[in-house]
């Protein structure tokens, strides 16, 4: 890479750090969990708003993987999420009433917490409706993965967002808090994703899946990006620049092989389309706090969201990580 270009990226990284710093007063500290400073901890970082009925399973899932501490920004929930979080010993909480949008869709808040608590740790940055799946996930805890990544000197781990949906219409789904959402949302699209290379951060840009075919058929370019790099061995000089789609320095985004091999990768199972999706969609449409004026939410709104159904005869029923690997959605990348 040219020197001038790499210097520009450095300036850009500084700019993101500055932005993060300027938003430092957004977050008001609520409580620190028990093991927030454990040197060998593997941490989850999350921003949420009104996710009370998703939280129990979210926390349970990641505790089972071996996550020791959750750092959560509560963006002014009013459904009891805040109280629920307060009662959890392994959760650290910050509260904010500030605009999600002006904090670059929460990125600046995450950067701030990562800077302060994440350095030298493996940090997993996920939303409450994203469930991290990696090779051997059913038999090996997340520390097995991060230890392995350490031995291979890998600092970041990609996991594509995989939208999960039910066979039934949205209004016919039954889901109880604490239940595994993928007992209900057990289908996905297995073979309709596009990868675009390039961009100034060097990351891959992945689109496709049920949302593109259903909502963005006439403007596929605007379909949501599915590439994510949620797991990073954090350093204080790193910044996320756009959700968890890309980071700086640029080398953290080069999580793919272009010489024929496969690097290791996982998936984030996306449980967005649970029964509360339609009320959430109308709320977000109203708040206009989401990406590109809620492009995505507008597109959903234009469909009759209660009858929303992504299922087709070509949908694939979810089984396990091996299935995702066989389908070519993720790769064990040499981790036997």
């Amino acid at each position: 890479m040219k020197l001038s270009r790499s210097y520009k990226l450095r300036l850009l990284r500084k700019k993101w750090q500055l932005r993060t710093w300027r938003k430092r007063k957004d977050l008001s500290f609520v409580k620190l969990g028990d093991a927030a400073f454990e040197p060998s901890g593997i941490f989850v970082f999350t921003t949420l708003r009104n996710e009370h009925h998703r939280l129990p399973y979210f926390l349970e899932y990641y505790r089972n993987l071996g996550i020791t501490q959750f750092f959560i920004v509560d963006n002014d929930s009013n459904d009891g999420s805040a109280e629920y979080l307060l009662a959890q010993p392994d959760v650290s909480v910050w509260h904010t009433k500030a605009s999600y949008k002006s904090a670059k869709y929460g990125v600046l808040w995450m950067n701030q917490l990562l800077y302060k608590y994440g350095s030298k740790h493996w940090c997993l940055n996920v939303d409450c409706d994203e469930f991290f799946v990696y090779p051997h996930v059913s038999k090996r805890p997340i520390r097995a993965l991060t230890d392995w990544l350490d031995t291979r000197s890998l600092r970041s781990f990609p996991a594509m967002l995989l939208d999960m949906y039910a066979k039934e219409n949205l209004e016919d789904i039954e889901y109880d808090a604490g239940q595994n959402p993928f007992e209900v949302l057990n289908y996905f699209d297995s073979g309709n994703y596009t990868q675009q290379n390039g961009g100034r951060y060097g990351n891959l840009w992945i689109q496709g899946g049920p949302r593109q075919r259903k909502f963005f058929a006439n403007q596929p370019r605007k379909a949501p990006a599915l590439n994510k790099i949620p797991l990073v061995k954090w350093k204080s000089s790193y910044v996320y620049t756009s959700s968890t789609h890309s980071l700086l320095p640029r080398s953290l985004n080069l999580t793919f092989d272009d010489r024929g091999g496969e690097k290791i990768s996982g998936c984030l199972l996306h449980s967005k389309f649970l029964p509360d999706a339609d009320s959430k969609i109308s709320e977000e449409l109203h708040r206009q706090e989401h990406y590109e004026e809620g492009q995505e939410y507008k597109a959903y709104g234009s469909q009759t969201s209660r009858n929303l159904n992504f299922w087709t005869a070509n949908s694939t029923r979810f089984q396990n990580w091996q299935q995702l690997e066989d389908l070519g959605l993720m790769s064990s990348g040499g981790w036997a």
Partner: protein, 562 residues
């Protein structure tokens, strides 16, 4: 008799303590070397536990650096300690803190008792490129290595390169031949004593101190001088991937471990609780080694390891980007492409599909929606034929289409003028088998009844140019292709179609009786004469006697004369 164990430790001392306990319980004698780099806060408990144990001795601690002679020195210290302190020891086995036994220790004792006087050490002649994975081989012995590979990588590489340019080549000490192999060996007392007391040992030590990774060559070379009988294999199973990284073992490997060769395995992941619990249990027993299990383990491991280097052909995904290198397209499976057949026969896709009992897709790149078999708008994997989504990333569309259908036969048609970039992709794909009818556009053009000669001329020139470019692309590309002459196809449709069926579905037995109708080509001769007389060099009759033949990328295609 008993077994002496040289145990090298540098981290995870709680696990090391578990291993040590189990080995002592089984009657082993142990000499432990602890890396001097490890802070004493970590080693304290371990030392306290074992310092006064009668069957265990702690050696002097030196600083160990991977790849250097310090590791050999640690092994030497441990070996000396065992030989001196425990005269009852008959065999010395080298282990590390991340090893675990896979068979009961009693079985190893029995095995060694049956093999008195045999040394088990992997010892392969260096420089044959069959043992070392990723890295230097003969140069380990012939160059100098003053820099650390882990901490001073740039200096290390630079130093190697300079020495290569200067053609530096150190000589082996007299009487030694360089051998390499795993450092986890088991030597019998006699051999080890002879190595330690070798009169030239000072010279050897000096030489190996400057070699690269001498712990994989010191004992392996010296043993050739002193051993009576060598079995060149390690009793500790370990595995390295193409980059030279050791494989880690986890709880889910448990069912395979007892079937692996040898009596120990490394490296064990430090938190593999059930491996530690099971393999170190007092009453641990192992079944007879099962070859099937060993093969199953090898197959699974190779499949997963292989992903990193080779990857799956034709797969485009988040951690594998297809670059289509050297103008060579990459797809997952063979497929057939028909060009011009739908211009020549009516309803060819449905007819053909019935004959060969396979889906035959229409033009996947038609203007508007992709014409997939049975008029569906979604194919496998929910890949949509919607024109805007398909055209947003057309190559991804084809790559995904082939990947999704890779386990079944794929046949589709293609015509789509103005998709030349795409045609070149097909022509460069070794997986493509292209059936091309030249001049297939003529009947259609004729039926358009264009009366304005200038317009007609322009159309014909453009279409001829397209034909020419496509044939050029085919002859330059990697695809297999077959070119048919239109006149030939119209004159003998049966033989052409039978041959096509034969090729797409070789097992089809019954010959079809009803052929699809050809398009209306009444007056074709008159029309071509008209074109010719107006100066357009359209000459498809010339090919009438040439039988279409397969051209693969290696042979020069026989082109129809223009």
């Amino acid at each position: 008799m008993s077994i002496g164990i040289g145990l090298l430790l540098h981290q995870n001392f709680d696990r090391a303590a578990q291993l040590t306990h189990a080995l002592l319980r089984e009657g082993c004698r142990i000499a432990v070397h602890i890396d001097a780099k490890t802070p004493s806060s970590e080693t304290e408990d371990y030392v306290k536990l074992f310092a006064n144990h009668p069957k265990l001795t702690l050696t002097k601690r030196i600083r160990c650096e991977w790849g250097t002679f310090s590791l050999v020195r640690a092994q030497l210290l441990a070996s000396e300690a065992i030989l001196m302190k425990f005269p009852e020891v008959t065999h010395v086995v080298q282990l590390s803190g991340s090893c675990l036994p896979t068979r009961p220790i009693a079985e190893l004792q029995q095995f060694l008792a049956n093999n008195q006087g045999t040394d088990f050490i992997e010892s392969v002649v260096a420089g044959q490129k069959n043992w070392i994975k990723g890295g230097l081989e003969a140069e380990r012995f012939s160059l100098y290595f003053p820099f650390s590979w882990r901490k001073q990588r740039i200096l290390f590489d630079g130093c190697v390169n300079i020495q290569r340019k200067l053609k530096i080549c150190r000589d082996m000490p007299k009487g030694l031949e360089p051998h390499v192999g795993s450092q986890w060996w088991a030597l019998c007392r006699g051999t080890l004593t002879a190595i330690l007391n070798d009169p030239c040992r000072r010279e050897y030590d000096r030489f190996f101190a400057k070699c690269w990774i001498p712990d994989e060559s010191y004992f392996q070379s010296l043993v050739r001088k002193h051993a009576k009988r060598i079995e060149s294999r390690s009793l500790t199973f370990s595995r390295f991937d193409q980059q030279g990284n050791p494989m880690m073992f986890y709880d889910d490997h448990l069912e395979y471990l007892e079937h692996l060769e040898g009596f120990f395995v490394r490296k064990i992941w430090r938190e593999a609780n059930s491996l530690y619990e099971t393999l170190l249990a007092k009453d641990y027993t192992a079944d007879q080694r099962d070859r099937e299990m060993r093969l199953a383990f090898a197959a699974q491991t190779e499949r997963l390891e292989g992903r990193r280097n080779r990857g799956r052909t034709g797969l485009s995904m988040q951690s594998r980007v297809l670059k289509h290198l050297n103008n060579r397209s990459e797809t997952a499976a063979p497929y057939s492409v028909l060009l011009g057949f739908d211009k020549t026969f009516l309803g060819i896709d449905r007819w053909l599909s019935e004959q060969i009992d396979q889906p035959v897709h229409g033009d996947l790149f038609a203007i508007g929606q992709a014409e997939m078999a049975q008029n569906t708008s979604l194919s496998k994997g929910n890949l949509t034929g919607h024109s805007k989504i398909r055209d947003y990333a057309p190559l991804d569309f084809l790559v995904s289409f082939v990947w999704n259908h890779r386990k079944e036969p794929i046949t589709f048609q293609f015509w789509s003028v103005k998709k030349e970039k795409f045609f070149r992709f097909l022509a460069n794909d070794p997986n493509a088998r292209i059936h091309y009818i030249r001049y297939a556009w003529v009947p259609e053009l004729m039926r358009e009844n264009i009366t304005n000669l200038a317009v007609l001329k322009r159309r014909v020139t453009a279409l001829m140019e397209m034909d020419r470019q496509r044939i050029d692309a085919l002859s330059a590309g990697h695809a297999n292709f077959k070119i048919y002459a239109l006149a030939d196809v119209l004159a003998k449709p049966a033989s052409i179609l039978y041959a096509l069926i034969e090729e797409l579905a070789p097992k089809t037995e019954t010959k079809p009786r009803i052929l699809p109708k050809t398009v209306d080509w009444q007056g074709l001769e008159k029309f071509t004469n008209l074109l010719k007389n107006n100066g357009m060099n359209i000459d498809f009759e010339l090919a009438e006697h040439a039988r279409p033949e397969w051209h693969d990328a290696k042979t020069t295609p026989v082109l129809i004369a223009e």
